[in-house]
Symmetry: C2
Subunit: 638 residues, 2 copies
């Protein structure tokens, strides 16, 4: 879930080389001590990976690592499968696989790098049994695997790690029902019950109540234990062995376990937001955390009569700072929402456990009664918004674009058939940030929602446009609307006219030109467009008009006719798959005009990779240079 | 859920006029007797409505009617709200509102007629609090309404009727969690626990286990009673009054209650498929059922010292039979699937409680080990299919198009990112049958799935094309695919060339012509297209080429170029919203060619109404006459 943009740590970083892991796994230490030391080595390396990447999920990597270490060292064998349903604990699992030599050691330097280790699991990486990161799917996936095993007379148990916040997803409970009926005893679910979800304590977001009673009532065998006490965990596993029901072990863990100031138990549960769910620590916190782990490890080695560790270090440069002029749409959205809330007493905001990422904290502080935290329960949230709208409220519904457009897709449509007005706000939209990987890269959301009658989809190009589009959605939209927000701060070289007001279905010219027209939207694509236009102008001596068209599923034919007349070629650039993006709305309009101007849609064709923002943009050919090349090639072949 | 196409009953039909209801509601009978008689009057009228409409849900209308009658006569007051989350019990609720004079009595003759009473609830009908028919959303909607009430200092309780099969939907459990945390005691959920879902017994589909324990574990106050014993039901409601928790009353009911041979208790629970979930009874069963209800009613009146009923009758003509040549795609699909299953030992079929509608019974009989009944749990089903595909199986996943494309939308995408091959089969696709209304009219499914990388969407135009497209999806598709199936038998006047094989992205000519090109797909739209083409040819003296293009999200540019050259105008006809349908794939391709041929997409713009098939097609202007008019108008204005 949470995906705060962090910054890579500069200065000295520490990691344990493979030899240190071998020294532990090859030792004759008692199994529980061996796994505990192995887990701490993994913590050190996961911390390194996240610090170097500049983002990743420390808290749940650390809470799950003792269990993961025990499973990998002592439990999993032969055809057994382990995977994490929550997926954001991937850095810890990667560190363990690297420690065991099952992943190439050099990958330790490539978390969230292209052709490296994706932010969330992908089966392209050895050891990953399924793609996760979209919550709540794990048990269902495991059920399918077991039923396939049974059909093909294969053996093997499946251990599925889930979060606790993840249990707010309806699919989790949906999946328990038939698992019990099918008697899928081969499945053991381990709940990493670290008491916190993305933003703060589960009990403050959407309390799970009596989790053991719930799981038992669904017909599963349930055990509970301390997830950092490996004796207790091993006993729990042993006690359920042989039971013919599917099994759940609720493992009480500590988020951020292993670094005192990252442990959630250091927080005051009534107020605090947890700081180490996503993103990365700053340099001083990184070094304090690494030091604490290293000191403990050396003490453990020493207590076991083993020599101190020989760690490796690496010097990392200071990452280049973003210019002060970078556009921060989430911040602008926060202010715009507050302004609208002041105008409209019936405006309420709903959130699905992403209050930090979606910029809602100031709203919650100012309007606590008008803020509804729904937990990781997007379907429930959207249908609740539907009920609110029927009763005269104006619900503004927030989540990441990837989740909001897809998980409650049928619920959004159902609301639309009631002809009420709801504003959906999907942040983290588009192909970057590239780090989290495809579960979080929302490049299909326009398509998923565009056909809904009276639904207008808009994307602001800069801070100033956020406010005017939100106002338009509230005051003028013919029905519900979906605001697509780029979460990354992004440096842009264009600006909107000072008197600019969005006009339904019409774009605004950012650079003038007559020969070629490029239509795009949002800060990332428009930056590529403006820079590409400059390159094309220089190399091909053509004048290029770049247009910001903030309307993603509606285009005015008369505006389009005026805009493209006399030009040689029209290009659209989608921060989205080519199918179903803005390019299709433009194509439909151009075809309707019977305009004999060649038209090229630029956008994504395949599932995007995980990597740094620049790496991903280059790979999917949406960076300025690639866009310029595509344009030049198209011009030369028509 | 289930939506079998039925046939209107001919001959004499019976219904109780408003005076009979007034006689009961105005009587001084004890409340429980009054409600029971009222309920039976509603049964008679709901039966009439369904017999006249030719389809509707008798079983759950009858199981819920005693409760509905009690709620409306004795419980609901002032600002209280009642609605049904399952929605398919609408005929019973309509009958009750008509009996109370809250709906115009003449609407009794207009179930599933345009501008009448939709197959599932729509807020356009007085007394309907929310649009339902998509399962599992009701509690969430109620939560939103209560939170809005609290914010705006309004009172009122909400009674939500759910099915029991409906409780397999994850959203139901998702919605329970925060209701308990928010302490939404104003909500009372009544589970119409009639033990059957669409096809057969809940316990055979996906057993709910200890339902009371489950609901209690979610923090709700739970009572259980006989839902046909109104004393017991009233006591249950009284006992939970004042509890500050949200409340669930599990009402044990009998599906089809009130007509002996429709009562599920007359079935052998191990084998039988229930026949009165959807569709309509034949004339003799209708009359036997009506007679049984009328006899009981008159006995009740007599026992209460009241005069016998004065019923109204109406004579209905024999409905015109479908020609023997009508294309039945579901039947063809059944055969095609069996053939593929024989070829491929790894082929498995998954179903979400629609085995009757999706044509899977012969498959289940022949391959019981390769058939997986998942219950009304589409997200779980799709992710299970994902797990199976990762283990080497070829899952074929079935549901109605409206549900399959939307409810598990994120799960389908997640599977696609794993690059496995899965075939999704969505039946009941398109705007007809018009009876069920917008929850079941799948006119947004192409858009919802088209952008998924390597996902091919196809729709067969006739029985013969079903087999070849299924074979293509299995053998040749580059990734997963979605087969869109018209469920209605449809009489078509075209046929495919005898040597026809589908060619990726290319269409096949059904009628030759040079001036105008019409591209469409599926039996319903192609029938309109072929007939419209004939009309245009006759009136405008133009030759019209009609093309069947079974590829809904992919069009070959070179084929398109050959096809449209020298023509005056290109039309596409979508059984779908214009945005995101096949028309967009055609528009994108035409624009890419820079073809200076005017292009018009014909399709839906607004949420379609409920009505007979012909009424709906005419209203949305997709019948042959309307299509011809649209074409003629477009030709005259370009």
């Amino acid at each position: 879930m949470g995906e705060l943009a962090g910054q890579a740590v500069e200065g000295t970083l520490y990691f344990a080389p493979h030899a240190e892991f071998e020294r532990v796994t090859g030792s004759n230490l008692p199994a529980k001590e061996r796994a505990a030391i192995f887990g701490d080595l993994c913590r050190l390396n996961a911390l390194y990976m996240i610090a170097r990447a500049g983002s990743g999920h420390i808290g749940s990597s650390f809470s799950s690592l003792d269990i993961v270490s025990w499973l990998l060292l002592e439990e999993i064998e032969g055809a057994d499968v382990y995977f994490s349903s929550k997926g954001h604990d991937a850095p810890g699992y990667y560190a363990a696989l690297i420690g065991l030599g099952r992943l190439d050691f050099e990958l330790i330097h490539k978390l969230r790098q292209i052709d490296g280790l994706p932010g969330h699991p992908d089966i392209g990486t050895p050891g990953m049994a399924t793609n996760s990161g979209s919550l709540g799917m794990g048990v269902s996936k495991a059920k399918g695997m077991i039923l396939a095993n049974r059909l093909t007379h294969r053996n093997g148990r499946i251990f599925v790690m889930t979060g606790d916040g993840e249990l707010q997803e309806g699919q989790f409970w949906e999946s328990l029902i038939s698992a019990a009926n099918f008697g899928l005893h081969e499945i053991t679910v381990i709940v990493d019950h670290n008491k916190l979800q993305s933003d703060t304590f589960v009990k403050n977001v959407s309390d799970l109540g009596d989790l053991e009673a719930k799981c038992k009532a669904f017909g599963w065998r349930v055990e509970r234990c301390d997830g950092h006490d490996l004796s207790a965990f091993a006993e729990a596993l042993a006690s359920i062995e042989g039971d013919r029901r599917p099994k759940i072990v609720i493992a009480d863990t500590v988020k951020g376990k292993g670094v005192s100031f990252m442990e959630h138990t250091s927080l005051d549960s009534d107020v605090a937001m947890y700081r180490f769910h996503s993103g990365a620590p700053d340099a001083s916190l990184y070094r304090a955390a690494a030091q604490e782990i290293m000191t403990r490890l050396n003490k453990k080695f020493s207590d076991s009569g083993m020599a101190p560790m020989e760690l490796e270090t690496i010097e990392r440069p200071q990452p280049s700072a973003l210019p002060a002029t970078a556009q921060r749409l989430i911040g602008a959205y926060t202010q715009a929402l507050l302004k609208q809330a002041e105008r409209r007493a019936n405006l309420v905001a709903l959130d699905a456990d992403l209050i930090l990422d979606t910029g809602l904290i100031p709203f919650r502080e100012k309007y606590p009664n008008r803020f509804f935290e729904c937990g990781i329960a997007e379907q429930d949230m959207v249908s609740m918004a539907g009920g609110m709208a029927l009763k005269g409220l104006l619900p503004i519904v927030h989540s990441f674009a990837c989740f909001l457009s897809a998980r409650p897709n049928e619920q959004i449509y159902n609301n639309a058939t009631e002809l009420t007005k709801i504003v959906y706000v999907g942040s983290l939209a588009g192909v970057v940030p590239g780090g989290p990987g495809h579960s979080h890269q929302a490049v299909r959301d326009i398509s998923a929602l565009a056909a809904i009658p009276k639904m207008t989809i808009v994307e602001p190009s800069c801070e100033a446009e956020v406010e005017s589009l939100l106002e338009w959605c509230i005051d003028e939209a013919p029905g519900s609307s979906y605001i697509r927000l780029i979460s990354l701060p992004w440096d842009v070289s264009y600006s909107l006219p000072s008197n600019y007001k969005p006009k339904y279905g019409e774009g605004v010219v950012l650079t003038e030109g007559n020969d070629v027209v490029i239509i795009a939207y949002g800060p990332v694509m428009l930056s590529s467009a403006v820079r590409a236009a400059r390159m094309v102008t220089e190399t091909a001596k053509l004048s290029v008009k770049v247009i910001n068209l903030p309307w993603l599923n509606v285009v005015s034919p008369s505006w389009m006719k005026r805009t493209v007349q006399n030009c040689r070629h029209v290009f659209s650039i989608d921060n989205h798959y080519v199918i179903g993006g803005q390019g299709d709305a433009i194509g439909r309009t151009l075809a309707g005009l019977g305009a004999s101007i060649p038209y090229t849609c630029i956008g994504l064709y395949d599932v995007p990779p995980s990597g740094t923002n620049q790496q991903v943009l280059e790979r999917v050919r949406l960076d300025a240079v690639s866009v310029a090349q595509t344009i030049t090639y198209a011009l030369s072949s028509t």
